[in-house]
């Protein structure tokens, strides 16, 4: 059996792994007959490749964050007579920030579900809620930064505070970039409708949390 005598009757990506359920279970041509003659599965589908690329990007982000974290871990005790974390941190603000990020990654997931179902309104609503919680997080973080600087505990006070401002500030930038991306996506969905390659961009904001504390 050759792949050429089974035309692609369905629209969409013919290279999608296991696109059809026509599993040939014996012989050298084992696999899916629609796989265009490239071994078992043919080239990976666009969806898999886009997901992989995005995942590599997230991992590179994690590696970059880990460098900042390492610096912070090394300098944690280097307070130079200045205030330590325990004296500075505003407990409830941190709880609220963490909660906001968690909720926003949850609603981001919901927007992915709505996207799968091709439901415009719910996608937009979920993305909007995601964005609002992200924004609320940034406001709280900015307020904390301002308070610390006013107390004389700015990044110039000690090596501990320098590293703290660096890692938390970087995370804030990361969230801001995610918000910009999210806004762009909402506009794209609004103007162009859904395109498959938009889907995976959704996960950007999701990643924010684990590093939030």
């Amino acid at each position: 059996m050759s792949a050429s005598d089974t035309p692609f009757e369905r629209a969409g990506d013919p290279y999608l792994v296991g696109r059809t359920r026509d599993w040939v279970s014996t012989g050298a041509g084992r696999g899916y007959v629609h796989a265009t003659g490239h071994g078992e599965g043919g080239p990976a589908s666009k969806r898999v490749i886009v997901g992989y690329g995005f995942w590599i990007f997230l991992l590179s982000d994690i590696v970059m964050f880990s460098a900042f974290f390492a610096a912070h871990a090394v300098l944690q005790t280097a307070t130079a007579g200045g205030p330590s974390g325990r004296e500075l941190f505003n407990w409830w603000s941190i709880v609220a920030q963490t909660a906001f990020l968690l909720v926003s990654s949850f609603t981001c997931g919901l927007s992915a579900v709505a996207t799968e179902a091709r439901h415009h309104l719910w996608t937009q609503v979920a993305l909007l809620v995601t964005g609002l919680f992200g924004l609320a997080f940034l406001v709280l973080e900015g307020r904390d930064f301002a308070n610390m600087v006013m107390q004389g505990a700015g990044p110039d006070r000690s090596a501990f505070l320098s590293s703290l401002f660096a890692v938390v500030g970087l995370h804030g930038l990361h969230v801001s970039a995610g918000l910009l991306w999210l806004g762009t996506m909402m506009a794209q969905v609004f103007v162009k409708g859904f395109r498959p390659d938009i889907l995976l961009a959704l996960f950007t904001v999701v990643y924010l949390i684990g590093l939030g504390r």
Partner: protein, 131 residues
């Protein structure tokens, strides 16, 4: 090439296989709700660990690290959809490499800097030398 009969069911795909039967909206939402509940529980636990006297003081950082790792696991599975499905192999390998780099970077920095710190001359001695 083998000629034995493959008795696998073509519909029997790994969990999270990207092209597996479409996930219904309800299933999709259930997944995210589960992830959200687990992540919230872990977050609450880590705040509780910080405020309680139930745990021996020096053990608190260890507890926090454990909770943070569990948190990452929950995020990977429920929010980022990393699975053991065949078309996810590349992602898992990339993740393993990422974890290796992160571990080398953090552990290596802490080790080296601690070593330098211990071998550093104390301030008075340094003054002595400069005289």
């Amino acid at each position: 090439m083998s000629h034995e009969t493959d008795t696998r069911d073509p519909g029997d795909l790994g969990p999270g296989f990207m092209d597996a039967a479409e996930v219904t909206v309800r299933e999709g939402i259930t997944r995210y709700v589960m992830g959200f509940v687990l992540a919230s529980a872990l977050t609450a636990a880590s705040f509780y660990v910080l405020s309680t006297s139930l745990i021996w003081g020096p053990g608190i950082p260890v507890a926090l690290v454990v909770l943070a790792i569990a948190q990452m696991g929950v995020h990977l599975v429920f929010f980022l959809h990393i699975t053991t499905a065949p078309d996810n192999t590349n992602n898992v390998l990339a993740l393993a490499f990422g974890v290796l780099i992160v571990a080398l970077l953090i552990a290596g920095s802490l080790w080296i800097m601690d070593n330098l710190n211990q071998n550093m001359m104390s301030m008075p001695q340094m003054m002595q030398m400069q005289r």
